[in-house]
Symmetry: C2
Amino acid sequence: VVSAALQADLGRLLGADAVRPGDRPEYLRDALTGPDLSPWADAVALPADREEVAAVVAYCCEHTVPLTVRGGGTGLAGGAVPLEGGVVLSMERVRAVRSLHPLQWRVEVEAGLPTAQLQRIARENGLWFPPDPGAAEQSQIGGNIATDAGGPHSFGFGTTGAFVLGLEAVVPPGELVRFGGPVSKNSTGYGMHRLLVGSEGTLAVITSAWLRLLPAPERQLPLAAFFADARSGCEAVDQLIGSGFEPSVIDFFDEPTVTATAAGMPYRLGGEARFMLVLEALGSAEAAEELRAQMADLLTETGAVLVESPTIPSEVAALWRWRDGVSGVVTSLRGGKVSEDVIVPVEHLVDAIEATARIGREHGLEAMSWGHAGNGNLHSTFLVSSPQIPAAEMAIVREATERLLKEVIALGGSISGEHGIGWLKRDLLPLELDPAVLELERGVKRQFDPAGLLNPGKVLPVG
Amino acid sequence: VVSAALQADLGRLLGADAVRPGDRPEYLRDALTGPDLSPWADAVALPADREEVAAVVAYCCEHTVPLTVRGGGTGLAGGAVPLEGGVVLSMERVRAVRSLHPLQWRVEVEAGLPTAQLQRIARENGLWFPPDPGAAEQSQIGGNIATDAGGPHSFGFGTTGAFVLGLEAVVPPGELVRFGGPVSKNSTGYGMHRLLVGSEGTLAVITSAWLRLLPAPERQLPLAAFFADARSGCEAVDQLIGSGFEPSVIDFFDEPTVTATAAGMPYRLGGEARFMLVLEALGSAEAAEELRAQMADLLTETGAVLVESPTIPSEVAALWRWRDGVSGVVTSLRGGKVSEDVIVPVEHLVDAIEATARIGREHGLEAMSWGHAGNGNLHSTFLVSSPQIPAAEMAIVREATERLLKEVIALGGSISGEHGIGWLKRDLLPLELDPAVLELERGVKRQFDPAGLLNPGKVLPVG
């Protein structure tokens, strides 16, 4: 099918208004900067509802056309970037709130609903949706489910998948089906909805989700603590967790990250304040205050050189604004970055932070890391020049990345804790997975998508 | 392979001490009473470690011998009962604690470890493993994972699967592989360890698990509340949840259940005290006390005729002892029961309780229900005479059950909330699942177990 014919066919299915040419740059990228994926597509489809999603999938299966589903395009692994032409299916118009049960802490929303919108709906009803990956205004709940997105609050509450009760999805050759439903537990057959979580559009197109919500906490109080180095900061994290404290967030920022983002930081840092932790205490007003005070004491005892406990809303907002801006500020330093989301057993966090710095140094790359300390989840980052990265520079970054991933695996960790595999790490998957497991994953893919049309070139290694 | 030859072969693999004849009744049943499954096996294998488990799986795959893995045999759906001969592989000797990281709230244990043992290890280290299916002394963690077992605390903390970080398992044709690992999040490839949760031994033999634990709460305080009928009790549950209270347990017991178990109940019930709720408040001593007092007030306001707040340990223990005994007492009434674990959206709990009673009445069966009210999860139960159930009686029970399951599905619910499908409901799966989903599940099964040797006749409908 050539592009023009494909666009005409889609126009007949969806209406001409709902079809765009395949070369619109905003539909050809996600938030991965650095490497050039040479994306291309024949057409962009903007279905209005689940029936139209099913019609597009059916059309693609019938005509052997690749289909790349995209949410908000905020992914960091190239997962939404079309590599083999065909149709980009954007979920942006499929965004209804199908039902809201605030008294039962439950909502059914369509995949294209922006995550921040979901969070607002929850809050307006006295509830709370804890998963908070960055870029919540742009990212969509379907994409968050498809990558099992994490975020700071994953330490206390789990990733997006932990809130998925059931899914509606279109599976090849175009059937709209339901996995799980509006119930809080389900042992009926295999946990297929749990398999779709994190499958990055390669098994099915998720059209809606039943999600659980939680009662909104009365108070959420952040805490910022600074240490002289990574070792003492990580020691404090160990002490904190080992003492049985249950903060909702334990994020960290290493020295180069703190330096790079110091201008937007709401605190004046002295000479020894180089490694930063951001924590949050949550609960009733009384419980949150008490937990925060206890944690502040423990952090001071374990060597914090500065502890900040913002209380008035503008102070709290300033800290989170700085936090939300970290990734963007780091990207702007040189135009691009290759940022990992490796994860290690939490007792090895300091080893992984030090490995990131050492590997960067040895390869002549500016390196830094930050992330979710309580999970042992690091955004190990190498800066690159962008948009055009010299091939030689990219080769060095790839070499450094591969070394880092191998060290992480040797520590008992995993190459992706929250961003997914996408395009970026598909060929690195065999570093971590047993060959037999990889073969089973290929088999699962074949069962859902025998012709290999859904998001081709993603998750599984090519060849 | 005839039984004697099979036993001899297994003896060479494991040592003669580790092999039993296939007719040992204790290896041919689980806790499902009532229906006669006509179980049989050629041999029972008792491997000592993962390598021996892998050797048995490899042997069975090579010689096309069915293999039924069993944990503690406490399942309620016939899932561990061998139906097609071959080997029963009992995990009782594969029960080491491989590693314990109390400061990181993590443990790696082998599948045969009794769940109560895991709970004790956690407690001894200041931690807590919340999942609490009945029969914790007999049931094994591997079986709990294989059924995604629930229990009262699933309301507050999720089912067993919510605590699984990674799994080690043997997949056909006998390879020992790892899915996930000792990290708290994982987006590396498909969520295969989440697929193995609840797969009831039909995809792989789980040999060990990395589990997360939680800091032990300082205080756990139960609360018992009695209402005049199911409608007022369920209304109180709605109010409680809708008000944003977060108890760790909300169980219910309908009038026939309360009547049948009244002798062991630590309270003297007046005339109106017919429908019972058991709740638990958990947290710091102060928070738990406050939550329990607030809940007691709300329950009284919404019509409770009696509220008991046991405080001294012996009173608390007496309540839980009664709770743990409910299923056994009900079974003893007539020798057998067919007990469901249906689940509905929590706002329809009262409809499902009333449907159980009505359907029982219309089919001339003694019916009752209890379960996890906060989850909308009912153990709808029909009493039967046992061990020999007249075929006519069994036919009536099947008819009543099927009606109940259809009503549950019509309410948006599911036919199994925590016991799994096993043998009991395999042929009822199509009532709930889309044909395309069922086909995908069959496809997943084929990928893992192409010869259909693992726990044959379970989960998926026959034919």
